[in-house]
Symmetry: C2
Subunit: 255 residues, 2 copies
DNA sequence: CGATAGTTTGATATCCTTCAAAACCTGTGG
DNA sequence: CCACAGGTTTTGAAGGATATCAAACTATCG
């Protein structure tokens, strides 16, 4: 039973942040009971929307993105299984960006009310989810560093290092390989590069025996060397498991 | 009395997000009672720290930044008067970045306990602060778009547009001019550019009569033209004032 | 008034983009 | 099972934006 819970990527992810009770885990599992399938390329949430529910990614990849007037696109975050789209979206008037699917995906839509009840009744979950949003922010900051300071080669290396750890956190790596269902164009939109340049960068990595990338599966042959190239310090992912926090008001994520 | 409160940048800022009661305002004012002065160039919080207090900027500019192994620096956010450094810092084990002063500054240090009490006793403040952190995140996303997709000229224009509105929000603009106490080097570290290239970009803007920038004071002569150049859409700053939200559990910022 | 930090300038190198076409997949319908 | 269509990857040649390096110039401040 406990083992079954661990197949749920959300349980897996939050469990790596904090100690979840069996009760918490059962509830999280309940949240992902009814799921919908969506096709790659569709939007889960469009810019300007005021969503009435939170989406939990079960299978597949999604992204936050923005399209500029000139048609340029910037991807600002990847969402992978176990990631929740915008717990806090209830507060702001309208989405200032869109969330789109990078691959076919399976998604659970969690109504606002259910989400709020869960947070109230399960302080452990609230705690873990708040932790998760802080990590999302840290990741965003690191992406800024990545685009701002690293050249294409190290930039790509850094992204790959990050995604390997994030996929591993939810149990989706197999012998150092994991699914990376992205076109070179999408990689370019992520890193502020042209698809042409992404292509040449990937080729260089392949030529150096660093990676294999085919059919949407990435293998990093020597993660240590890759990390050295990227100057990758996993610190910002805050993956270190912590003991449960004793909080005066557990419902208050500011605590 | 009410007028006096409005000289406090924090009151001003939060008041532009939500309706604050006089009681809320008094409390916010109380938070900034005792202040310390710090010199430009010093760190308020170093990477790896686990701060025991929250800092409120009263006067001057600060920034979040990271230094890479090769010595490159990336500035990830500016903090201006009325901004709080890391309400949520209590949760994570250690800071994954530093907060440093870009100018001489006056700062109020708010102990963790005081902060938590304030949030509990003043739901309106908790609400507004949560809103503010969401806006900080939106700003961060927009910086990513800026660095990822715009060339140096538009990138600079966009940053200037943003800072004008943020400074205006806390009442620190005078006839379209505002303090911008940054060296060209620091601007470069912000936008992923060389100080040399920042210099040439600024010169171009000056030559075109777009700006004056001297002695740390920036004047944008034609904000509309500047916005057009940048493709600036202020939406992400979520500056539209909202009516107070009725929340079931006001202490829960997820609501 | 000298010291120090910041700005400006010029010349050159590099990374990355642009454009355009060819090669390669992958799935679909005949 | 083949052929074709559309998207994706790959390749080449050339141009542009930005970096690098080094030096001169200019504020500012004790």
């Amino acid at each position: 039973m406990k083992g079954a819970f661990m197949t749920n990527p959300l349980v897996r992810k939050l469990g790596s942040f904090t100690m979840l009770s069996d009760d918490d885990k059962a509830r999280l599992n309940g949240l992902s009971r009814s799921t919908q399938r969506h096709k790659a390329g569709t939007d889960l949430i469009a810019q300007g929307d005021r969503p009435r529910e939170v989406f939990l990614l079960i299978e597949g990849w999604a992204c936050r993105y923005k399209v500029l007037p000139d048609g340029n696109r910037q991807i600002m975050a990847y969402l992978i299984p176990g990631d929740l789209c915008d717990i806090h979206v209830f507060i702001l008037k309208a989405m200032d960006h869109a969330i789109g699917l990078l691959s076919d995906a399976r998604v659970a839509a969690i109504p606002k009310r259910v989400m709020l009840d869960t947070l109230r009744e399960h302080p452990g979950i609230a705690q873990a989810l708040f932790w998760a949003t802080l990590v999302d922010e840290a990741v965003l900051r690191e992406w800024l560093v990545n685009i701002g300071q690293r050249d294409a080669y190290r930039r790509t290396a850094h992204l790959f290092c990050e995604m390997r750890l994030r996929m591993r956190q939810v149990g989706l790596t197999h012998d150092g390989a994991f699914s990376l269902p992205l076109t070179q164009e999408q990689l370019g939109d992520t890193m502020g590069l042209t698809s042409v340049h992404v292509n040449r960068t990937l080729q260089k990595m392949r030529a150096e025996g660093l990676i294999s990338l085919q059919g949407g599966v990435l293998t990093i042959h020597d993660p240590d060397r890759m990390a050295a190239i990227a100057g990758f310090d996993p610190n910002y992912l805050h993956l270190d498991r912590r003991e449960p926090l004793q909080v005066s008001d557990p419902a208050a994520p500011f605590a």
